[in-house]
Subunit: 244 residues, 2 copies
């Protein structure tokens, strides 16, 4: 029986497929998406892992059971494991990191930076993705600072900023200026995220591409030469389809 305080709330586990975003773009990865989030971003692209209306699709898993699934998907061969959500920082993932590292796997965690955990220091990669104004969420920079501090300089840390418009872009510049030593990845937002249960809903690819072009223009015009601009590759390849 799984002790409640060590069980992990899981929305989906899939892969390996390539990472579609940010610092690890293109790298084969097994994705563990946890259920539940302290945020409700207006344009959330993973509502099925956020909104408790979908909790019947979530599963409480022990560290062992979760790890067995990752090992099965990867054929026992060490691969990058991406911990995302929802907000995976609200799950008890410390034991999973220990277990996976013993088998030679690596872990990247992606979070908005609202909840800090001691086990952030055990990650290989920590992607902090503060949410811009278009999300309708407010950033608690003290909590965000605590996340950076919890990492204790051990994982690689990157900032990933989703940008929909000028206001988001100004927010991204401010966020980057707060953490001048962290590499920055900018990502054009998708105004047509999947609707839960309808992964074939049309995606405004033209809009995503236009926003990407605009973002490249902004960055080069401002001579922001240490930012990277990357689209969501999986959206370009597979639209809003899940599990690829």
């Amino acid at each position: 029986m799984t002790a409640p305080h060590t069980a992990i709330r899981v929305s989906e586990i899939f892969g390996p497929t390539i990472q579609g975003e940010g610092m690890l773009i293109g790298l084969p990865t097994v994705f563990v998406r946890t259920g539940g989030c302290d945020y409700r971003c207006s344009w959330c692209d993973s509502l099925y892992a956020v909104d408790s209306r979908f909790r019947h699709e979530w599963e409480m898993m022990s560290t062992d059971a979760l790890w067995q699934k990752v090992v099965a998907l990867s054929g026992g061969r060490p691969v990058m494991v991406s911990l995302s959500g929802g907000n995976p920082a609200i799950q008890p993932l410390g034991a999973l990191l220990d277990r996976g590292h013993r088998d030679g796997y690596r872990f990247a965690l992606e979070t908005q930076g609202s909840v800090a955990r001691n086990w952030f220091a055990e990650l290989d990669v920590l992607v902090l993705s503060p949410k811009p104004p278009s999300s309708e969420m407010a950033t608690d920079w003290a909590a965000f600072d605590a996340c950076v501090e919890a990492a204790r300089g051990r994982p690689q840390i990157a900032l990933k900023l989703v940008v929909f418009d000028d206001t988001d872009y100004a927010y991204a510049r401010d966020a980057a200026a707060r953490y001048p030593r962290l590499p920055v990845y900018l990502q054009p937002g998708n105004h047509t995220p999947p609707r839960p249960g309808d992964e074939n809903a049309p995606i405004d690819m033209n809009g995503v591409m236009k926003r990407m072009e605009w973002l490249v223009e902004e960055v080069t015009r401002d001579r922001w030469f240490d930012a990277r601009v990357l689209p969501q590759l999986h959206v370009l390849l597979w639209g809003n389809k899940r599990g690829v």
Copy 2:
């Protein structure tokens, strides 16, 4: 007057725009494309910088003149400079690296690895892109080894492998196995490269995407978990258009 032995044969200089390929994907970059190549790849996407039929479009530039153009494009703000071609290794670029480094710029060079230069050790990034069988070129691995040795462990080195088919994929696996410590970037080939003078020629985007999906399937099926698979982002964004 430019001494002939120090003049650089330039096909085009443009940017900043984002790097569309490989290790530096998404990074704002000024591109210096040199003219002339010791290879004639069947699917070359830069024939206008390779084939001497286009030499009337090339310009012999002094290091100073070339550098002034890079500084003007970047507004004097240090940016990554990509040296590509053609084969930039057949140009005298050592003085350019010294000059640019004094101004705080960084340099990435991309070459097939057929010609080694002492100044490879002064690069920040060296992308070695051996050409697979579909190119109809043969790889001289002794010359390639000499390129790795010339870098003397100083720049970051990455292997970039274009893959069109199963034979190319097998070649990529062999090339990666030869250099187990070098990071590998796999890139689906474009069967519809630009025809010089006709940059609006239709591109088989569906074919590129299908080849990308196939490559992701191969890599994950083989559990080649330290390779990265990345498309040419600029082709997805801008087709075969030049200068973006």
